[in-house]
Amino acid sequence: MNAVTAAKVVPAQPVAAPEPEREVLLKVDNVSLSFGGVKAITNISFDIRKGEIRAIIGPNGAGKTSMLNVINGFYHPQQGTITWRGEVRRKMRPYEAASQGIARTFQNVALFKGMTTLDNIMSGRTLKMHRNFFWQVLHYGPARDEEIAHRRKVEDIIDFLEIQAIRKTPVGKLPYGLQKRVELGRALAMEPELLLLDEPMAGMNLEEKEDMSRFIIDVNQEFGTTIALIEHDMGVVMDLSDRVVVLDYGKKIADGAPAEVQASQEVIDAYLGVSH
């Protein structure tokens, strides 16, 4: 064993149980949401702690995406409260959620297809631009300085996600896996406190999944971003996340460390199906 390995400390991998002192970033209390007679979410409570990777899983139609939509203000629950950074949140619009540090990606890629990777990620900086329309059109003085600073930040993200080669490529021409990466880049451009990922690995092959997992871990560790993700690939969920919440038919059926959740009879039943 050489001197270096002897002294090596294994880098902190996601730990099974988060330390209790981690502060709660977002808290969902008894939230219910229905569309007409359809109950999408029934009486759900859970929390997301600062700095963790939190997975939301469940069979199709379990209400996962609805849950994300509630968190980022796209849907407004009929019942229950959402506490964001210690304050009970009033009804808000998605862009208000965004300006408070919640960014997300979508299940089906929602990029500007005709724009380049660079411009797409740059669009993630919109909320951080302070010069008014007039200055930006002139592209002069403070507006230009501001744009240069934002471009620098965007280049950091391009470097981070290793997409330099497609910087100037219109995203519509890119393969799906790369589009997903660009979308992650756009969300990162907002420098969010909480990042919501809706099926970041859907439709990817194994290699792309491995890359994406790596990026998610790196985002979490390098930037300290809290991440809530929906994912169907159980291997990925179990490897990545600190805690998992399981939904089925709009109800919460389990919540805890990946191993705990995996062992829960209710979860197994929900996935494999039981005769009712």
Partner: protein
């Protein structure tokens, strides 16, 4: 030019000394660029000196001393290039290793070299080194890219800028530190070991080639002089740093000529970066030129009809007279006029697209390049040339001088290189670039380098009438026919493989009366021919047995024979009989190596009945062959293979024609 003489001369015989001189004489010229955050960041020679000095002093603080080996692992980055000279300034020896080699192989090299320090690119390499349990000599790792390494224990691990800060702290505290650092290497001699490069070695373990400053500096200066390279050149550093070619082009020649080295943003952006930099001096293995040409042709297929017509017309003109114009030969006035027009309409924009607008000299080496591909670039007015080199020679053995380009030779001996051919046909050379020895491998050194400094290349070749060296094969593969004629299988196979319709060829003849070949047709190329000519086929086997296909291949083989007839050494080994194999040679069946090289002896055993048929005069043979499918199942292919005869051509002794 006056400046070049200044740069090339003097008693500055080591890279740290050359760096001092460049910082003094070329201080404000750009020495290095790297594309980072979408912008080309640049450093002047004075800047490089400052950066290198700070890092070097930081390394000293960490305990690096003279004689230590320092591993350099990663892609082409300015920090890694500076690391090499920073280590040399302390009398330590850099050992660049291939970043993509697997942990086990890298572990062998690093243990063998007894490296004490490692300068690496990123987390991947750090993890790889940390996993090497038996690498007991390693004391400290410095990394360039901090991502993912934040939570690692930093007792024996440092970030590159942190090491530089340590060096700068020394400089700030002690006013005499810079001078003391310079004095530290003032006494170094040209004969000191500059670098150790491990050769990949097709057989056995890699060997550590020790090269002295003299080896590299003199070879680099000779190379600069040969192609008139000076401080205005721009090169793109994109080939592995552990490879001698990159070491000489991106470090030795850059330092001695004082030109600028550009590091691409990432491996995937090399094409784009080349376009932005437009290098004046460029090296690439044949496959790079091949894929570039394919991309151009594919794009032309998609172009509008007018553009396609224009392209075809002017490429015709270029083919007719482009190379002659480049070589300074006489060309009819109308062609000269058309060529100038073509330069505006087609060649210029095309060269711009591939980043060759400013190209002064381009080199290709490593393998034989297809004559069509070679000629394509030359006809555009690009001075693409071939060279023949080895790690043991500090690259240069032979070079093609301007205006003396023959597709089938590798050129004349480089400046100060002596060449001779041994009785068995093996090429030997002696030059100032000849390596000192293999590290800790007396036996291999003795087997490769003679007492009086001649090095055995392991390649067989001969010197043609025009004084150019022609490499025919690996020396151990070269055999003789029964009538004593030289038989070089790879030479024949390569000639055949230059035809797009022929994918693979295996030549036989050692100890036989005449030469014969197995041929694999190229399914893509012949398949597209079949489609155009309404030839139906269900499988490779059926297409391979088609009489029209046979006729087509026979033409190709005959053409190769005509070529061989024009070469005095080769005329005797013309192909007398050939057959098209009923199945494609495949690595899964053990017929090819994983890198797609033919395993000749294995094939000879496996298809012994076919070889027998080639030599017993029969016109066809029924064969059964077991094959392994991709999923591991096995099956049987059987069929009757036809054998065709060819009449050899009378030998001609005109080299010029052979080159055509």
């Amino acid at each position: 030019m006056a400046r070049l003489a200044n740069v090339a001369g003097g008693d500055v015989d080591t890279f740290p000394k050359i760096l001092l001189r460049n910082a003094r004489d070329l201080g404000e010229r750009t020495a290095m660029r790297e594309k980072d955050y979408g912008i080309w960041q640049s450093w002047t020679w004075a800047g490089v000196l400052e950066e290198t000095r700070a890092f070097s002093l930081g390394l000293r603080q960490l305990g690096l001393t003279a004689g230590d080996k320092v591993a350099i692992v990663g892609a082409n980055r300015p920090h890694l290039y500076w690391s090499m000279v920073a280590a040399q300034a302390l009398g330590a020896i850099p050992v660049p290793v291939y970043a993509d080699s697997v942990a086990e192989e890298m572990s062998y090299v690093l243990s063998h070299a007894e490296v004490r320090f490692a300068i690496v690119e990123d987390q991947e390499q750090v993890d790889k080194l940390l996993s090497m349990e038996d690498l007991t000599s390693l004391k400290h790792i410095v990394y360039d890219e901090p991502r993912g390494l934040r939570d690692y224990d930093h007792t024996h691990l440092s970030h590159f800028p942190a090491v530089q800060d340590m060096g700068r702290a020394v400089l700030a505290k002690d006013a005499g530190a810079a001078a003391a650092w310079e004095n530290g290497f003032a006494a170094q001699k040209g004969s000191d070991i500059a670098v150790m490069l491990y050769t990949s070695g097709t057989t056995g373990r890699p060997k550590g080639v020790m090269l002295s400053f003299d080896n590299l500096v003199i070879s680099a200066r000779n190379g600069n002089e040969f192609d008139r390279l000076d401080e205005t050149e721009e090169v793109l550093a994109y080939l592995p740093m552990a490879w001698i070619g990159d070491h000489v082009f991106s470090l030795a020649q850059a330092y001695t000529a004082g030109y600028c080295v550009n590091c691409p943003e990432s491996l995937e952006t090399v094409d784009l970066d080349r376009l932005e930099i437009a290098p004046t001096y460029f090296f690439a293995p044949p496959r790079v030129f091949e894929s570039m040409l394919t991309r151009i042709l594919v794009r032309m297929e998609d172009a509008s009809r007018l553009k396609k017509k224009m392209f075809d017309f002017f490429m015709d003109v270029a083919r007719r007279s482009g190379e002659k114009i480049l070589n300074g030969e006489n060309v009819p006035f109308t062609d000269r006029l058309l060529y100038s027009l073509g330069e505006i309409m087609v060649y210029g924009p095309l060269k711009n697209r591939i980043g060759f607008t400013r190209l002064k000299v381009g080199y290709t080496a490593g393998e034989a390049i297809g004559p069509e591909i070679f000629r394509f670039y030359r006809s555009l007015g690009l001075n693409l040339k071939q060279l023949y080199g080895q790690t043991e020679a500090s690259v240069y053995i032979t070079l093609q001088p301007d205006g003396e380009i023959y597709g089938d030779t590798v050129g004349k001996p480089a400046p100060q290189v002596e060449l001779k051919i041994a009785d068995n046909g093996e090429v030997l050379y002696r030059s100032p670039g000849v390596f000192v020895a293999y590290y800790k491998n007396e036996e291999a050194t003795r087997a490769t380098k003679t007492e009086d400094g001649w090095v055995l290349t392991g390649d067989a070749g001969f010197i043609a009438d025009n004084g150019h060296l022609k490499i025919i094969d690996r020396a151990k593969d070269v055999g003789k026919l029964n009538d004593g004629a030289l038989f070089a299988p790879k030479y024949i196979e390569n000639k055949l493989k230059f035809f797009p319709n022929i994918k693979e060829a295996v030549a036989f003849g050692n100890g036989q009366d005449f030469a014969t070949v197995f041929i694999n047709i190229d399914l893509t190329s012949v398949g597209s021919w079949a489609e155009r000519n309404n030839v139906n086929y269900a499988s490779y086997q059926e297409l391979a047995a088609n009489p029209d296909v046979y006729a087509m291949i026979q033409d190709h083989v005959d053409q190769v024979n005509r070529d061989l007839a024009g070469e005095p050494m080769m005329a005797g080994s013309q192909i007398r009989r050939f057959l098209i194999l009923h199945k494609e040679l495949d690595a899964d069946d053990g017929e090819l190596t994983r890198t797609q090289k033919v395993r000749r002896s294995f094939i000879a055993d496996r298809y012994a009945p076919l070889i027998e048929a080639l030599y017993d005069g029969s016109t066809s043979r029924h064969v059964r062959t077991e094959v392994t499918f991709e999923d591991g199942r096995t099956g049987i292919i059987e069929g009757t293979v036809e054998i065709r005869d060819l009449t050899p051509h009378a030998p001609r002794h005109q080299l010029q024609e052979a080159a055509e």
